[in-house]
């Protein structure tokens, strides 16, 4: 089961989907496009745990984290 984690005012919202299900995968890809299009940054982790920013949807990613655009505080 793969997960897309979206940071929000509730802490985060998690969308779990079966990466082997074509319909679920398409929905996950659309969510990816919608979020990154809205300014969210998508990040995954390497096997060592290091974060990596990803600009394109990776259907093999087990976990993708989305955080909103950064601005000066």
């Amino acid at each position: 089961m793969a997960t897309q984690i979206v940071m929000d005012h509730n802490g985060d919202t998690r969308h779990n989907f079966d990466a082997n299900d074509a319909k679920a995968l398409l929905k996950a890809e659309r969510r990816f496009m919608a979020l990154t299009g809205a300014g969210f940054t998508a990040a995954t982790r390497t096997a060592d745990g290091d974060p990596v920013v990803t600009r394109t949807f990776d259907p093999t990613a087990e976990e993708t984290l989305f955080f909103p655009r950064l601005v000066g505080g």
């Binding site: 984290l65 950064l70 601005v71």
Partner: protein, 139 residues
């Protein structure tokens, strides 16, 4: 008669004190464990910190990250703004940097976004950040 009255007053005081303790405990539990958003944010942060960063955060409520481009070290303190300090080799703060997600997020989420930004796109993060004077309190 007086003894009976004292007994009643003592009983009521005891009940009042028990009620106060119960309310204080409930408030404590709500404050520290019942705030789900804060808890979720911290849980997510803890999942993404490296073992060293997690140990540092547990001990000090801050953790250090290395900028991916300059290799400078930054200390991210628990908080939601003005919580990033560029530090020198001795751990002394040099400059404060402030950048945050553009929506209202809990502390754990903010710190995680800051960590990922510095570790993957340091220049991009600092380009939007505002600088502030850092203090010696961290050293």
């Amino acid at each position: 008669m007086a003894e009976q009255l004292l007994h009643i007053v003592a009983n009521r005081l005891r009940r009042f004190r028990t009620g106060l303790v119960r309310r204080a405990r409930a408030f404590h539990d709500w404050f520290w464990h019942g705030n789900d958003s804060e808890g979720r944010g911290l849980k997510l942060l803890r999942e993404w910190l490296s073992p060293q960063q997690l140990a540092q955060y547990d001990a000090n409520k801050y953790f250090d990250v290395t900028g991916c481009e300059s290799r400078k070290r930054y200390r991210i303190c628990h908080g939601t703004s003005m919580n990033i300090h560029e530090i020198d080799g001795a751990g002394r703060p040099r400059t404060g940097w402030c950048f945050v997600p553009n929506s209202n997020l809990v502390a754990g989420d903010v710190m995680l976004a800051q960590k990922i930004a510095l570790e993957t796109d340091e220049c991009g993060a600092l380009a939007v950040a505002k600088q502030f004077e850092s203090t010696d309190r961290l050293s």
